[in-house]
C-alpha cells in the first residue's frame, strides 16, 4: 500500500504503484454503480488527475488538507465525477437527481466548489486546450506542471530561450482569451 508521503514526494514509481492499487477498486465500484465498461478508464484517469494535482500542488481551497486514505479519496473523487456526468447528461434535472440520490448517499457527494466549477466548465476548457498547437501545450505543461524554468525547457525542446519565453507568453494569452469567452 502506497503512503501519501510517497505520493507527495512525486516519484513516478510511487504513483504508478498507486495507480495499480486503485484501478481494480475503482473499476469494481464504477461497475456496481452502473458505469459503462468503456467509460471506466476516462473517469478513473480524470479522478486520478484531480487527485494528483491535489497532492502535488495542494488544494487552494484547503491548503492544510490532510489525506489519510488515498485510495478512498480517489474513489470518492471518481464517484463524484461519475455522478456529475450523469447529472450533466440527463435532460431532466429531477430525474437525474433521483437517479444519483439512489446511487450514493448525500454525504458522499463531497466535490468541493472549485472542482465542481472546474468540471462544469470542463468541456469548454478542453476545447480551449485543444485549440493550442502541440508545441504550445508542451511548453505550458513544462512550465506550469513540471515547474521547469524557460532555460530548461529550451534545452529540452531544442528551442532558443527567447523563443520559449515568447511562445509561452503567446500560448498563455491565447488560452486565457479563450477561457474569458466561456
Amino acid at each position: 500500500m502506497v503512503h501519501i508521503d510517497e505520493l507527495k514526494a512525486n516519484k513516478d514509481v510511487a504513483w504508478k504503484q498507486f495507480y495499480a492499487e486503485c484501478y481494480p477498486k475503482v473499476t469494481a465500484m464504477l461497475l456496481t454503480k452502473g458505469c459503462a465498461a468503456d467509460r471506466i478508464d476516462d473517469f478513473f484517469h480524470d479522478g486520478m488527475a484531480v487527485f494528483y494535482n491535489r497532492v502535488v500542488f495542494g488544494n487552494p481551497e484547503k491548503p492544510d488538507e490532510l489525506i489519510h486514505a488515498p485510495v478512498a479519496f480517489v474513489k470518492r473523487i471518481v464517484l463524484n465525477l461519475f455522478l456529475k456526468n450523469i447529472r450533466d447528461t440527463k435532460s431532466t434535472a429531477e430525474l437525474s437527481d433521483t437517479l444519483t440520490a439512489d446511487l450514493v448517499d448525500q454525504d458522499d457527494y463531497l466535490l468541493d466548489e472549485e472542482t465542481t466549477l472546474f468540471y462544469t466548465r470542463k468541456a469548454m476548457l478542453d476545447q480551449c486546450w485543444a485549440l493550442l498547437e502541440e508545441a504550445c501545450q508542451n511548453i505550458l505543461q513544462l512550465y506550469y506542471f513540471k515547474r521547469l524554468r524557460d532555460k530548461e525547457t529550451a534545452a529540452r525542446l531544442g528551442y532558443a530561450l527567447n523563443s520559449v519565453k515568447t511562445k509561452r507568453s503567446r500560448c498563455m494569452r491565447l488560452l486565457r482569451a479563450c477561457i474569458k469567452n466561456i
Binding site: 484501478y23 506542471f145 507568453s169
Partner: protein, 246 residues
C-alpha cells in the same frame, strides 16, 4: 488594465501564494478596484488548472498503458492430466465391458421377446376354432368393415349394453350380445346410414391384452376400456364377430 508579462508573473506568484505582504496588499487592492484584472486573474487560474489537469491526465494514461504492457496476459489453457499407463488399460477394459453390456443385453431381451411371441397362426384351442386372424407381431392393427348383413346375423340370449358418446351424432347405444360364448356387437345401422357414417373397428393387440376401437369418420372411440382379457376379432366379408374368451 494592461495584462503584460510582468502582471502575469505577479498573478502566477499570487496563485502560488508567493507574494510578499506588501505585494499582496497591493494585489488585493487591485483585485477589488479593477474588474478586468479580476477577470484576468480568474482566467489565469483556470488556465493553469487546465494545464495541470491535462498534464496529470497524460501522465495517468501513460501509467495505464505501461501497466497494461507490463501485465502478462494469462490465457487459460485446459489442464490435461496424463493418466498412468495401468490406469489407462483399466479404463479401456471398463469402457469395453460397458459397451459390451449395452450391445448384448438388448439383443438377449429381443430374442426372449421373439421366443414369447404367438406363432403365425392363432392357437385354435385357446381362441376357438373360428379364429382365423394371423398375429405375428406384438402390436397389430386390424380394420374391420361392417356390411349390410350385420343386423340379420345377430341374435342370441344375452345382451350387454355399452353406451358410447358420439360427438358427431349425439349419443347412441350399442348392444353387445353373446351367442354360444360369442360376443356380438349390435349396430343400429339406420343411425349410421342417416349420418352417412361407415363404422370401422380397429383392434390393437399388445403383449397381454387388446383394445378395441370404433372409428367413425375421423373419430376414435375405445369400446372395451378396462378389459383385461384379450379379445379376438374375427370377420369375413359380411359379419363382425367379437369373441370373448372365457
Amino acid at each position: 488594465m494592461n495584462t503584460n508579462d510582468d502582471n502575469i508573473e505577479l498573478i502566477d506568484r499570487y496563485l502560488e501564494d508567493k507574494l510578499t505582504e506588501e505585494e499582496l496588499t497591493d494585489f488585493k487592492q487591485q483585485l477589488s478596484d479593477d474588474a478586468d484584472f479580476r477577470e484576468t486573474v480568474e482566467a489565469q487560474r483556470l488556465a493553469i488548472a487546465q494545464i495541470q489537469h491535462q498534464a496529470a491526465l497524460k501522465k495517468m494514461r501513460q501509467f495505464g498503458q505501461e501497466l497494461k504492457a507490463e501485465t502478462p496476459v494469462h490465457t487459460l489453457k485446459p489442464k490435461i492430466r496424463r493418466l498412468p499407463p495401468l490406469l489407462k488399460i483399466a479404463v479401456a477394459i471398463a469402457l469395453l465391458l460397458v459397451a459390451g453390456l449395452v450391445i448384448v443385453i438388448p439383443i438377449i431381451n429381443n430374442n426372449n421377446e421373439i421366443a414369447e411371441q404367438p406363432t403365425d397362426t392363432i392357437d385354435n384351442d385357446k381362441y376357438g376354432t373360428d379364429s382365423k386372424l394371423d398375429f405375428n407381431e406384438s402390436l397389430k392393427v386390424k380394420q374391420l368393415q361392417l356390411t349390410d348383413d350385420i343386423a340379420s346375423t345377430i341374435s342370441g340370449d344375452r345382451t350387454i349394453r355399452l353406451s358410447i358418446l358420439f360427438e358427431q351424432i349425439s349419443q347412441a347405444t350399442y348392444d353387445f350380445q353373446t351367442i354360444n360364448n360369442d360376443l356380438f356387437l349390435l349396430i343400429n345401422k339406420e343411425t349410421l346410414d342417416a349420418e352417412n357414417l361407415t363404422p370401422v373397428f380397429i383392434q390393437i393387440f399388445d403383449k397381454d391384452s387388446s383394445r378395441l376401437y370404433l372409428r367413425l369418420d375421423e373419430k376414435f372411440y375405445q369400446i372395451n376400456e378396462g378389459e383385461q382379457r384379450p379379445l379376438v376379432v374375427e370377420t369375413d366379408e359380411t359379419i363382425l364377430n367379437v369373441l370373448e374368451k372365457q
